[in-house]
Subunit: 336 residues, 2 copies
């Protein structure tokens, strides 16, 4: 999938910033591609980049309108359709990370046909996958896992890629979600793959590689989330992870969208090792990534020190304090 | 999904009987619907029902040609297309359990359009599912789980439905695979659902019910299968099983289609309880179903006695020896 850049970020009228996390993620990791944002009345998200009309966006060189929002169930609200049609008429392609296909909405399909613009559904892949084989393939792989959804798994994998490359290591971020695909320009939204092919798609996303090459695979969901644990397990098995980092959001008390309680970091470590051994008997934890965004710095540092003491692993907030400790641990555990 | 009966069973030229297990399953549980079979040169499967030409099938009242075969990856072989087109031209609807949609093959789509016949893709659902919630709902549920794929999970659930109904209990088989959908005329092929909605689809398949009603939910795959464990886990979480039966095939040494070793029955019991507790803390095993088809009767009976002694659970071959022992155990564990 090739998406033309730069982007106009469409935020609709989402009720909170978490619903626009795709847009925030793209803007954080590819700010040079995010020329401006288009927000509807009542929108509670703000990327802090210029608000542009469609005409202004085209004038500044935008080539694709990115539907950078996710909502439960992946439905496209009725009242966004007219804006998307107007975007196509203004000369922009449209790329969406929603479950629903843009082309399944008649007004959008008709406008794309009429204007000759492209529609990209980042959550859908035209690739056909084999079922997973579970046979160990060469190359090193690190998977980010979590105590819940939306706890920083993508950020952590991207930060590790950046840090490894800065050290001169051969490393690639491997996207498994729509935001990651927008950021890396390739990959598969694993939660939209047909269930039989989850682990097979991950084997495809992270193919056999040089024995010293690192793939940094973006995790999804949580083994403890009643909605999505199946996706997380298929991803773990397909990744055949040599190493994993546990991602955590310390202010959350319930799992996102359901009544279930959050597991502890130790429960996630234990279950990931237990279940991951099916396809990689040597799987091991190499760090903890805590999203401390909601905490003052002294409290954040104290919490990370507690995590180091409790688990014997480097613990950091990748966004706030970097990932050098985890990279040092990886270098020690997997000497060249 | 409503499929017109009776059926002409199309077996193609599959290389072994296991590849035609859908057709065998339909014929075993709905023999009154299976009027005849259509086999191509080299076909190694045989349902033991009349071989019919298309003209003969139509003459005997057949209304739907059932593609009763499954192959790895779900692809439709090129050389079956002409037979399917001929079936449509003879006046039959066509129903398929393959992953590939019949309508995605131009020659078939064109013939269906031209003849006005219906195409059914049993593995695909037009239903939109919410994501799973994990909140406990009323009604009793039994899930069949397995040490591997194709070990008798559907047969066991169907045998339990039949046995419970014979005892006057309120019980329904809930299909989660293509054969089950052909047999029960409803349900969802869970392995073809988009990954994010696995547990949500199971919550839909087995909705809230009377507190004394039993749903007998057909399991899929195995928590220990590197290709499909994600599907099995989402199914377990969505089922919120009160009780489960472990299904096993004792002559197998490797898991179907991969190099992984078979888990033990005890490993399956332990992991099912451990992971199932996320959505039902009271989940418990109530029996073991062993497919002893390949064993002489004395060996089969000895093996079942060993399983009873080792696990303290009723053990049977549902096809050969019935399921009364498991039903007695259920009656004792869940008194009305």
């Amino acid at each position: 999938m090739q998406i033309a850049t730069p982007y106009l970020m469409f935020l609709g009228d989402v009720p909170d910033t978490l619903a626009a996390k795709t847009a925030y993620g793209i803007n954080d990791w590819r700010p040079e591609w995010c020329v401006g944002q288009l927000r509807m009345e009542g929108c509670a998200a703000d990327l802090g980049i210029p608000d542009l009309t469609l005409t202004q966006a085209v004038g500044r060189g935008c080539r694709t309108m990115v539907i950078g929002v996710a909502n439960a169930g992946g439905v496209l609200p009725e009242h966004w359709v007219a804006e998307i049609v107007a975007g196509l008429e203004a000369g922009l392609d449209v790329a969406s990370g929603l479950h629903v296909r843009l082309g399944s909405i008649p007004a959008i399909a008709e406008a794309a046909e009429r204007t000759g613009r492209a529609l990209h559904d980042v959550r859908h892949s035209s690739e056909t996958f084999p079922t997973g084989k579970g046979t160990k393939r060469p190359g090193l792989r690190l998977l980010t896992v979590g105590t819940d959804c939306s706890v920083g798994k993508k950020y952590t994998a991207l930060a590790l890629e950046k840090g490894m490359r800065a050290r001169g290591l051969d490393a690639d971020f491997r996207a498994t979600g729509q935001t990651g695909v927008f950021i890396s320009g390739r990959g598969v939204a694993i939660d939209a793959v047909v269930a039989d092919f989850i682990s097979g798609a991950v084997e495809w996303v992270s193919p056999a590689a040089d024995p010293r090459h690192w793939d940094l695979i973006e995790g999804q969901g949580s083994l403890f989330h009643p909605s999505f644990a199946g996706v997380s397990l298929g991803l773990l098995h397909g990744a055949q992870a040599d190493a994993f980092v546990v991602c955590h959001e310390p202010t959350r008390t319930r799992m996102r969208g359901v009544e279930a309680r959050l597991p502890t970091i130790q429960q996630v470590i234990d279950l990931t090792v237990q279940l991951g051994r099916l396809t990689n008997p040597d799987i091991r934890p190499v760090g903890i990534a805590v999203n401390t965004q909601g905490l003052p710095e002294p409290r954040a540092r104290a919490l990370l020190e507690e995590a180091v003491a409790a688990h014997g692993l480097p613990a950091t907030d990748p966004v706030r304090f970097g990932v050098e400790g985890i990279l040092d641990r990886l270098a020690a555990e997997f000497p060249a």
